[in-house]
Every structure is written in C-alpha cells, then in structure tokens.
Symmetry: C2
C-alpha cells in the first residue's frame, strides 16, 4: 500500500464488496516504503537487533494502515474497525521476526462482521505465547490474509498485489504470456518456488492446508474495473474445484525460471555407503537448501562425481563447509558455477499425460540448448541450463506447450 490515496482505492474496493452482499475482513500491509524505513531505524539503533524489539517497531507500519483504512471506510459511510494482532488475538508460535500463525480466536471478529462491521486487520503481526508482538517475515501479510480467511471460513480470500494475476510465464520475457483463470495450489507452489514470486510460498501452503480459495488480483484498478466477484484475477484452488471449473486444461500450466541457483560439482567422491550423507548432512545442518542432486559414475572405478545446486547466496558458505570436510568426504575437486538457470514446466495435467518431459528435452535439444541436470516431481519437470539461454529456453517451451496467446498482440 502506498499513501492515503492508495488506501482510498482499497477502501472503495472493500465497500463494493460489502455492497455486493459480502461480510468483509481486510488484511492490510504497511504503506509503501514504511517497513524499509522502520527496519533501517532498527539497524541504526542496534545492528544485531533483538527480534522481539524489532517486531515492536516494524509491526507499527501495518498498525497505521489498519487504523487509516478503518477511518477511510467510515468516511465512505461504512461501519468499520481495526483489530490489532493482539486484540483478535492472532496467536503465533516460533521465533520473533519469522513467527507462524498457530490459532486465531475468530468469534469476536465473526460477530462484528455479522453485524455489518468491516474488520480491518494489520497483516504480518501476531501475539506470542508470552504476550509480545510478533511478525511473520517479509511478505507475511499474504499469510495473515489466508489465516484470517480460514479462521472466519471465508468464501474466498482476495489478495491484491502489484500484478493482476498469475501468468503462464514471466510477461517480461514472453509477450504472449497469458493470464491464467485458475491454478491449483500445487501448481502455484511449484511456480512460486521456482521464481514466479506473486505470493509468499508459505501463504499458498497454508491456503492448501486450510482449503482457502485464493484470488490474486491487482490493487491498481480503476473504479470501473470488474468487481472481484467476476474473478478478474487468478483463482488458486484445489484439484477438485479445478476439475469442476471445467476449463480446457493444458498438460502444462506454466513455465518458470530461476536464476538464483548455483551449481556445485564434487569430483571423485568415493562410491561407498555413507559418502553422499557426508556431503549433505553438514549442508542441512547449516540450513542450506540443496535442490537438484545428480550422481554420475566417474571415470575411475569406485569413484563418482556428485553434482547439486544451492541458492547463489549460500554458495560461499557451501564451499567453505565442504573444504573443511575434504578429508572426511574424500573428494578431489570442487567445481562451482553460478552462471546457471533452472527452467521448469509445471502442470497438474502432466500427472495423467506421459511425454511432457520428453517433449521438453526435445524442444531444447532442437535449439542446441544443453541440459546440465534434471529433476522431476509429479507436476513439474526442471532442467538446469546455461544462464545466458534462460529467455530463449522459456520462449521455446512456452510455444512448444501451446501456451502462447492467440488473441492478443505478440
């Protein structure tokens, strides 16, 4: 949310929802730039900040927006009140600055909403077991919104973002990318985890667990835009509802890319029981998230090369951890490459349709793109390629799977 003008737009959206007959709860984020301002204050005060006090400071951003949205709704003639995280309360567990919603006591909220009062809640914030303010990490407002929607048994959780929906791929790369009318939770999770950051991954996971129907749509809308009930954005739903929606389904829903991976090769690792555990246990202990893993038979008997990917930000730590264990692991060399990209094709449809992976490999091979590694899940095939070929690969695959828009301008 930006300044008070942006709050006024949101208030108009909310009022139209109420006029359409809905009981409405709104979860708000801080005004644009506000969280950064508050985080900077904390850094100036104490570079090694206490997360409990950090939470007190940064939670104030959403508190201000919540009060201002309630005021703006009242100015539009609506009944509205704000509910701080500690007032509802939204009980959270785990550590400060990255709390997780545990339970929401929604009785008072539901009573107020049933009486026609719009409930305005600051996102991102909750209450710890010992009665202190908690926050949920950047993007936590999405998770708050889903948690509140679940607690009040909402028909739908509309999340207003900087984009107007989820696309078949990044429209900055493929001009003919199409906005999807609906995706399943699983597809959204795969798309988010490979770089299509529309929603915080955790919020999609929670929506799946709680069965909350989510609509992603743009907060930059005109007053004459279609109301949210006409579903102008992208609906995120269960497999079952997706089938009922009875849309023409493609085998592949979207193409995602992620340039933030780095490749690590350990050469001539002893090919014996426990060798691989020796590599990955210390990385797991250091919370380094290893993604793709390939084990190749080496040139020498009894030896093997192990290839894997880690987030680029963790590459230096990964190298240091492995160098420290060169003797115990017994490898020969570490080769690293951060000039790689992961390209993924995602779609629930591939569960029941063989050949999606083969089609991917063939399309890339046709254009001379070399595949360095492959991983697959039930609804996703990912390949690692040279980073320079990212855009080319995404365009090739978008066309190959028939995702290009036909009505709209190229």
């Amino acid at each position: 949310m930006a300044g008070t003008e942006r709050i006024r737009r949101v208030a108009n959206i909310v009022r139209r929802q109420q006029e359409a007959g809905h009981e409405v709860a709104v979860v708000v984020s801080a005004m644009a730039g506000e969280t950064d301002r508050l985080v900077n204050f904390c850094r100036e005060a104490n570079p090694l900040f206490d997360p409990a006090e950090y939470d007190v400071v940064v939670a104030s951003g959403e508190q201000v927006t919540a009060g201002l949205l309630a005021l703006t709704l009242q100015a539009l003639g609506c009944k509205a009140r704000s509910w701080m995280g500690w007032q509802v309360p939204i009980r959270t567990v785990e550590s400060h600055a990255k709390a997780r919603v545990d339970a929401i006591d929604s009785d008072r909220l539901c009573n107020a909403m049933a009486a026609g009062e719009i409930a305005v809640l600051p996102g991102f914030q909750g209450l710890s077991i010992d009665g202190r303010v908690t926050t949920m990490g950047r993007g936590g407002s999405d998770t708050s919104a889903v948690a509140v929607a679940a607690a009040v048994s909402a028909d739908r959780c509309d999340i207003y973002t900087d984009v107007d929906g989820v696309y078949t791929t990044d429209p900055r790369i493929v001009a003919r990318a199409r906005k999807l009318k609906a995706v399943t939770y699983e597809e959204m999770l795969e798309l988010a985890s490979v770089g299509a950051k529309v929603l915080q991954t955790r919020s999609v996971g929670l929506a799946m667990k709680e069965g909350v129907r989510v609509q992603v749509l743009s907060s930059f809308i005109d007053d004459d835009a279609p109301p949210a009930d006409d579903l102008p954005g992208t609906l995120i739903v269960s497999d079952e509802e997706m089938e009922k929606l009875d849309m023409e389904r493609q085998h592949v829903t979207g193409i995602a890319h992620d340039k933030n991976e780095a490749k690590v090769i350990l050469t001539r690792v002893p090919d014996k029981p426990g060798a691989v555990a020796n590599i990955f246990t210390p990385l797991a202990d250091a919370s380094i998230n290893v993604d793709m893993i390939i084990q190749n038979v080496g040139r020498e008997k009894g030896e093997t090369d192990v290839t894997f990917t880690v987030p680029q930000a963790d590459l230096a730590r990964t190298q240091a951890l492995l160098e420290d264990r060169r003797e115990s692991i017994g490898f020969n060399r570490i080769i690293t490459d951060s000039q790689v990209a992961k390209i993924s094709v995602v779609g629930v449809g591939m569960k029941s349709h063989a050949g999606v992976a083969a089609q991917m490999f063939a399309a890339l091979a046709d254009r001379g793109i070399n595949i360095q590694a492959i991983t697959t899940s039930e609804i996703k095939v990912s390949v690692l390629i040279d980073e320079d070929e990212t855009e080319l690969a995404v365009r090739i695959l978008h066309t190959a799977y028939g995702l290009d828009a036909v009505d709209e301008a190229a």
Copy 2:
C-alpha cells in the same frame, strides 16, 4: 525525541542512571514530527475522525520509539525491553484521544526492573476498558511518566524536555531570569496554567495527588553534564519537602504571562438574581473556559457591567452564543478586546506574607501600566493589562520581587 541520534543520547542518560544503582523505567514520546505526520494521515483519511481509530494510528509513534530505545540500550550492553500500554497494562478511562490513567498493574514491571531489566514504555498510550488502544492527548507522555513513577513507587520521576528547568520567568523576556532549584506542585500548576508550558498541567496535578517527586531537566545534554542525581534541573515537590530543602525562599517564586486571553464586556446587564448565571451557564455548557470575572456597578440604577476573559480561540464562539441570548440575558452591548495579557506573580511564600498584591499594583502603577482586571488565589495574583505592555510588566515585576540573577550576565 528526534531521530535515532536523539534516542542514543537518551539511552546514555538511562545507562548512567542504572550504573548509579537505580532501577529504571523510561517513558518515551514519539520522534520529532512523527505525531504530526500521523495526525495528518488521519485528517486526510477522514476529517471527522473516529477517536478510537485515531488512537490506533497515533499511538504507533511512541511504540516505534520504545522499541528503538530498547534496541539502543541493548546495544550499550544493558538489559532492556519495551512494554506497550496494553501489555503492562496501563488501564485508562474516559474517551479516546483524551484518556485518563485509571490503574497500572505494575507487578510484572517491578519484577523485571528488580531483575536488572530497564523497562521502556511508550508514553501517551493506554488500554480502554473494552480492550482498545487509547491515547491521552498532546503532551500525554508527561502524564504517563508520572503515572508509571507512581505505580512503581519511584524515588523520582525525571522528565527530559526542551528546556533545562523551570525559570523565575520566560528567559526570552528577562535575560536575568533564574532557573529555580525547586518549586512546589501548587506553584508549578499556577505557572503552567498561566502560560509557562514546561509540563502538561495534568501531569503536575497527578504528581501532586500521587506524591511523585518530579525533576524537569533538559534532554539536550552533553555526555559530561552532571548526572540527574545531582539535580541539575528543577525539582517539583510538596510543600513539606520544600521546607525541608531549607532553601532561601522568596515570597514570590516566578512571574508568568499569557497572551492567549480575550476580554469580553457586557454592558447594562440587569442587576438581579440569576442574571450572571444566564451569562455563564451557556458558556460552561459549550466547554468555554471563563477565567477572570469582574462585575462593575453600572451608571444606571439596577444595571451592571460584567467583564470576563475567555481563551482567544473561543472568542468568536463566545460572541455568537451571547448574541443568540441577547434577549434572555438582557444586556445592551458586547465589547471585546483580544489585545490583552494576563500577568501573574506566583509563590507559596505569599500565603504567609501580606502585601504581595499591593506591591504588584504599586510597581505597575509607577510605570503607568493600567490594570483592567484582577484575580487572586492563595499563591497567585493575576492582572489583566494591555498586551503591548506584557514584556515591560514582566521585567518590572521580576525586578520588584528581587528575582533578577546577580551572578550571571544581564
């Protein structure tokens, strides 16, 4: 409080207090300009704002400072935590935006302080009976500080302000004004209510009621300034303690002035029972604070002129209210004058010393200053004069009562 640099200064002061062996609770105000910014947001959102939501928005200013001061104290190696108004809780009564402290549950605060943890509290904010955020009106942080000091039975409540103490008069008018080492609660109330706005009047009243020793001192201090225990500011205490302090007492402690009054004269009001009530009841109903009242016998038998003062800001409303009641009150004309000033001499010493008032009238008459009205209380004599003569009158009286500093430069 200004930005994080100002917070760092305050943290240093607090640390020195703890190092001197004190258990410390700190009550903070918002950073400079922050409350105005938040109030403006509220006005933009809804000019007729709901005070309950206004409180949610503006209370965030003190919340931010409290978290940042706790972080800064931790960076200095102190144990510290913030306590929001709802966490203590600081229970308040009466309306939003001008709440009054009712009770403070100080057990947890005292336990934390006894364990060596500095308690940092946002001033100005509390918790209503129905569990919502309240604020106490501008300057409410002073009142919060005194209320917390009373709740934890503090030895002393140090209030750091823009000035370094209470002076015999406004140093901008009289260069030889002296900083007072101590004043009584009653003197401070009279000085505050007549324009020497160092502390919020309400906070002084509360300190008197609860017997909290208050020290006013400057927050703009160097690291080599004397510690607060050396009482570099002005102490505000009871009559009894003042006597024990055994200082050389003047009959008059200070001279105050107030240019915000306006004079109203109603001519030829019927001199009969109930006439005066007809004038002042509607003003009281409209919350207009009438100060001085003088009734002169008029030229005609059975008639009288009534003169009184009201705050200049209420003059237009006062005129309108009285014009509406011209018939029922039965006056002839309304004459108003906002070019007036109230000059007051204040001192507990005058209780036991006759002639203070006579000395005032003589000193002013000597210099040809005309007195338009007079009011007196046990420890104060106030006169209404022409506003142009304010500075002259203050200087004359400051000298007449022997208040001019002799050591310092004129």
